[in-house]
Symmetry: C2
Subunit: 354 residues, 2 copies
């Protein structure tokens, strides 16, 4: 089995390093994984003028899954769009058809204090957002800036979803719910957008194959409110690429510890890209203080979904819970005034706890 | 001066009734306002098969401003789109070119407990969201459901913004900030959407006329997080119609008392539509328990922006603060176990406090 490791920019390299160490510790224990590293994002641009270099794509194609760090940084903000770091990520998603983005928002009991929400509102939160990742207004054509009929400049983009694109993410949502509390909330703006009325119709149709799953529909503005009012009402939330971008970030911030949250982006063959939900945090890059746990937990998801190693995935997750219980905290999840550990020390602790 | 009163559906009639009583109480006191009532939304559909009946539009055209209740209800959910209640509202916005939607998210000290966020995170919150209201993917053409080149059904919509549409909302934002803390945060998704990269460029250009105002830019996913992490970092947030729909509802829920929040939708001549931020709440409609304060505060905004009656607007706002200080609470803003008052009793109290 082979993993492409794409550390990217900012804190990406230091956090993926710890996840790689965890995977290596497991291999001395019997897990047979080959890992190959390649530059992506700003690092790809530095290496060969492209946020997704040809050679990096080849490494990813020869692997069974991608472990991804994070991309972006202020030094790349003024590059033309095709050279910008995030294009590396968007092109990987599209190239491998990674349509199903699983973003769990989980509150660890030890870290519930870190949320800006009241304890009783978020304690025990365990919500899975399923975001469609390869279509919608992210990729729809036509798009650009043009002179319109009235002779004025205008920017434009196209939101679109085909029936099969909606069907496959709906199936993924119902199947995910089957392993959980069996409730799916589909989020749209069917009262205004034709695309999302169509989305609602197709999801409703797919639901006829899942009599054991409860389906509800919610407008995106209401969903943004309900996540704050009572996030625990949700089990699986499924939505399009654009709304999913917004709602999944909102949901992850509810937990107060975004440094803990992994994600998976899967295609129909369970090839996947695994990355922490947090960004590249340029302000703390290279200082050895970033929290590697979201990336380590992303590696666990990788073992579960792409390599079919459920037991090993659970071993990593148990180790992470153990270090939390031991009281180890990187700065982002520490209670004010408490002792903190660095990136590498946290990696060491997880390896020791395996 | 003339006001068109459009109560709409659900709790709309009972809450606008109280706002009308407040305005009438002020007229015996010297304010000269004529009011004319007309059906809109589901009520418009019941009256004449159209959520915005011709006669209602005429009433609105002959007025200086619209006081709007709320529209919608489950009984209308299966109507074809053009007959649905919300189309009445969308058409009013478009017809009167009400491009500037002011949505304040304010936490009243007496009600801070009602928020699901920790007290220190929201206490003193005073944020103004300026949402563009007449363009974007809400109105862009083409849109619909079609069979695509591959022979498959697909839904599609068009996001678009012209330069002048962005310019005028940017001016509105900078001018609003001038009366406040002088900071504007413009929210977009410039890293993915061409429309919003164009938005960012135009806002940046308009900013050159406002050297006294600080401008920052934020991606919409990050904004959805920052509103939860630290909402008090914002003064004025300006954004497009779609993102504004989501973020303004998120922001209003931060306050915990959405029953308190008014809104104004203005055109270039300060003609405006004023409505509470909350919806038609069909579950409590007709029971006399709805909170009328958001609608009463909307009437105050109407006096301020469309009728240029700042002193009278402040009189209403002071009266609302007084009844809160007196401890009067409708059910939605009451602490558990405390005594509550009904819709009419709350209206009485505001009138007495004027
Ligand atoms: C970097 C950006 C293009 C990306 C997105 O919008 O999808 C990010 O926000 C995410 O959610 O993974
Ligand atoms: C009812 C609906 C069309 C409307 C909107 O999306 O604009 C509402 O959500 C609002 O925010 O006023």
């Amino acid at each position: 089995m082979k993993i492409a490791v794409l550390p990217g920019d900012g804190i990406g390299p230091e956090i993926t390093e710890q996840a790689v160490r965890v995977l290596k510790a497991l291999s001395t224990d019997g897990l047979r994984i080959e890992m190959e590293q390649a530059p992506v994002g700003g690092a790809g641009y530095e290496a060969s003028g492209d946020p997704l270099p040809e050679a990096t794509l080849k490494v990813a194609e020869q692997a069974d899954a991608i472990l991804f760090g994070s991309v972006g940084g202020p030094q790349y903000d003024t590059l033309p769009r095709p050279q910008r770091p995030e294009q590396g990520l968007l092109r990987l998603r599209k190239h491998f058809d990674l349509f199903a983005n699983l973003r769990p928002a989980v509150v660890y009991p030890e870290l519930a204090h870190a949320s800006t929400l009241k304890h009783e509102v978020v304690a025990g939160l365990d919500l899975l957002i399923l975001r469609e990742l390869t279509s919608d207004i992210y990729f729809g054509q036509p798009r650009g800036v043009r002179i319109n009929e009235a002779g004025e400049r205008e920017g434009f983009d196209t939101m679109r979803y085909t029936e099969s694109e909606i069907r496959r993410i709906a199936h993924a949502a119902f199947q995910a719910a089957r392993k959980r509390a069996k409730r799916v909330c589909s989020v749209d703006k069917a009262n205004v957008l034709e695309t999302t009325q169509f989305w609602r119709d197709v999801v409703t149709d797919v639901h006829r194959e899942y009599a054991d799953i409860e389906l509800s529909h919610m407008y995106v503005d209401n969903a943004a409110m309900q996540l704050i009012r009572n996030p625990k009402q949700f089990d699986v939330m499924v939505t399009g690429n654009m709304f999913g971008d917004i709602l999944s970030d909102e949901a992850s911030m509810l937990t107060g510890s975004i440094g803990m949250l992994p994600s998976a982006s899967l295609n129909a063959k369970n090839y996947g890209l695994y990355e922490p939900i947090h960004g590249s945090a340029p302000d703390i890059a290279g200082k050895g203080v970033a929290n590697p746990l979201a990336t380590i937990l992303s590696a666990a998801m990788l073992l579960r979904y792409s390599l079919n190693q459920e037991a090993t995935a659970q071993r990593i997750e148990a180790a992470v819970r153990k270090v939390l219980a031991q009281g180890l905290r990187t700065a982002d999840i520490a209670e004010p005034g408490k002792r903190t550990v660095g990136t590498r020390e946290m990696g060491d602790a997880v390896i020791a706890a395996l």
